[in-house]
């Protein structure tokens, strides 16, 4: 895994609605995805992780608006550019060819009235108009094989496939143009645990073979610890901690990360009581002053309720945290 960046999110702000009624769902997010890595993005419901994914691909449905920031994409060859500044035509060409997404709703991501083959090949028709019909079909078949689905399912309709098969078709579809970045937005939420592990294992294996980077969004921190290289924790629209997966698991610095880790059981190690996090996620319309986590934080002290902590490196290691318990040494970004 190299440390050259492939996608850099800088000061991204996303709001729902306009003017005074606007809800700030993503606040000043800075995040860098490196070539070939799996970056996990975790947080409770409403923490802004999906909005962040939709924001950086410009797929926000109205009334979502990007109010500021940059998303710098580094193509394999050529100059880096800001995705948010692309014209409609360039954006169309950018989508799926450079950044593909596997969505939350595995069951509803496929159009029920078109065959699997149609939905796989129309990507190729849009992006590779020079390809012949036979070549497109061959490529689609190849992708199905890659994700472990028999090629004769090409002529099937989505309702004839199981949930797990549909999600695998989506993964195959995501990889059909060999994108550099694959965003997985809770890709296995609708599936059972066995199928979850099977599909994620397959994806990681494919990543090793094809070398794309993954942004893996989920609320299931245990999955992230297992499958990702680096993890970013989101709370109230901000990233509150970012570190290598092992570092998050073994000694997370932010009390919120500790809370998330404390809310699921581990398979090995001594038995301990599951704690969970008291209180409820913050209302994005009326965020608490200072650190947005302070009303729920067991370790809150004097500066927490008045000053917003910045995401910064607490020591010399390549990790960062936004918490007054770990004061700023060197701001990130």
């Amino acid at each position: 895994m190299s440390s050259t960046p492939v996608l850099e999110i800088r000061n991204l702000n996303v709001e729902y609605g306009l003017g005074d009624q606007a809800v700030r769902a993503v606040r000043d997010v800075n995040l860098t995805l490196h070539r070939g890595e799996v970056l996990g993005l975790a947080g409770e419901s409403g923490s802004g992780k999906s909005t962040l994914a939709y924001g950086m691909t410009r797929l926000l449905a109205p009334p979502g608006v990007i109010t500021g920031g940059e998303v710098i994409y580094h193509p394999e060859k050529g100059e880096a550019y800001d995705v948010l500044g692309l014209s409609d035509r360039h954006l169309q060409a950018f989508r799926w060819a450079e950044t593909a997404i596997v969505f939350q709703g595995a069951m509803n991501s496929l159009n029920p009235v078109h065959k699997i083959s149609t939905q796989l090949t129309d990507v190729l028709r849009a992006h590779r108009p020079e390809m012949s019909e036979a070549a497109r079909n061959a490529r689609a078949r190849e992708m199905l094989k890659l994700v472990g689905i028999a090629a004769d399912r090409m002529e099937a309709y989505p309702h004839q496939l199981s949930g797990g098969m549909r999600q695998r078709v989506m993964i195959g579809m995501a990889l059909i143009l060999q994108p550099q970045v694959v965003i997985m937005d809770e890709p296995t939420t609708a599936l059972d645990v066995v199928m979850q592990r099977q599909i994620l294992g397959q994806l990681i294996e494919l990543r090793e073979r094809l070398g794309f980077s993954v942004i893996f969004i989920t609320h299931d921190l245990s999955l992230l610890v297992e499958f990702s290289n680096r993890i970013a924790i989101m709370y109230g629209g901000r990233i509150v901690e970012e570190a290598a997966a092992a570092a998050i698991y073994k000694d997370s610095l932010h009390p919120y990360s500790q809370g998330l880790l404390g809310s699921f059981p581990s398979l090995r190690g001594p038995r301990r009581e599951l704690t969970g996090i008291p209180g409820t996620p913050p209302d994005l319309k009326g965020m608490p002053s200072g650190c947005s986590f302070h009303p729920r934080c067991p370790k809150a002290f004097e500066p927490c309720s008045t000053n917003i902590p910045v995401l910064a490196r607490p020591d010399d290691s390549p990790r960062s945290v936004a918490c007054w318990l770990h004061p700023v040494k060197e701001p990130v970004g």
Partner: protein
Amino acid sequence: MKYFLQRVAFYLFTAWAAITLNFFIPRMVPGDPVQALITKFQGQLSSKAIESLYVLFGLDKDKSVWQEYLDYWNQLFHGDLGLSFTFFPTPVSEIISSSLPWTLTLVGITTVISFFLGTGLGVLAGWRRGSWADGLLPVTTFLSSVPYFWLGIIAIYLLTGPDSFFPSSGGFGSGLVPAWDQYFIPSAIQHSLLPALTILISSVSGWILSMRNMMVTVSSEDYITVAHAKGLSDRRVALSYAARNALLPNVSGFALSLGFIVGGTLLVEIVFSYPGVGFQLFQALGAQDYPLMQGIFLIITISVLVANLIADVAYLLLDPRTRKEG
């Protein structure tokens, strides 16, 4: 295929039930057509003539109901619907076959235009919501709530007159003989414009509204977001993903409305005295012309059934989820 045959069998059964009802209902209505005819001829009929009239109308007192029922079916298969007595002794089938083309062309063409126009505008309004197309909606809501016969009366009141281009009644100019020539065709088109426009204006808004609403519903589906994320052109997403799926309910609505072509626009034909089936039915009702009513009801029933069958087949073709495997 098995499903299709099941549907066909179902419709054949329904047709049988409808025709049987059609046979029995006039026999249950108080009064009988021969009495009405006797009154019409003011007692100038001999008892022999009356007797033969009963036989002619299939009301022979010597026959059992069962025998009459079998005769009725036998006649149906020979295309014999009996004799009308407003236009005595013209056969009902002849009256229907002369009035049916008028209704079919006027209402048929209008329904088809209305469906395509309305659905197209609905797709546009649903896909570009928040733009100028939304301004269309209050107008269509208003128009769809206006009864079309009322619209027809207003149109006659405002647009026709001695000097107007639009004739106020009839299907063609007086003094013309129906034929495929350069005098009759333009006259027929001229006469059909106003009723067609009336039907079009009042029916197109329904299509716009339903299509627009389905487009809005479908637009929020996950597969639309996926289609956008795939980098497909906006046109392709709008047509092949959104409109293709939003079309399903409208298509079955369209097939059903085909069934109402024959009987559904009775009032427009009455308002414009248009020589179609609806107008004939109106006259038949006024004259207690049972055989004619029976014949028209039969035609209406069959067209509704055929339209339903078309709706089923269309759905089968458009939505793979309705196809049963094996």
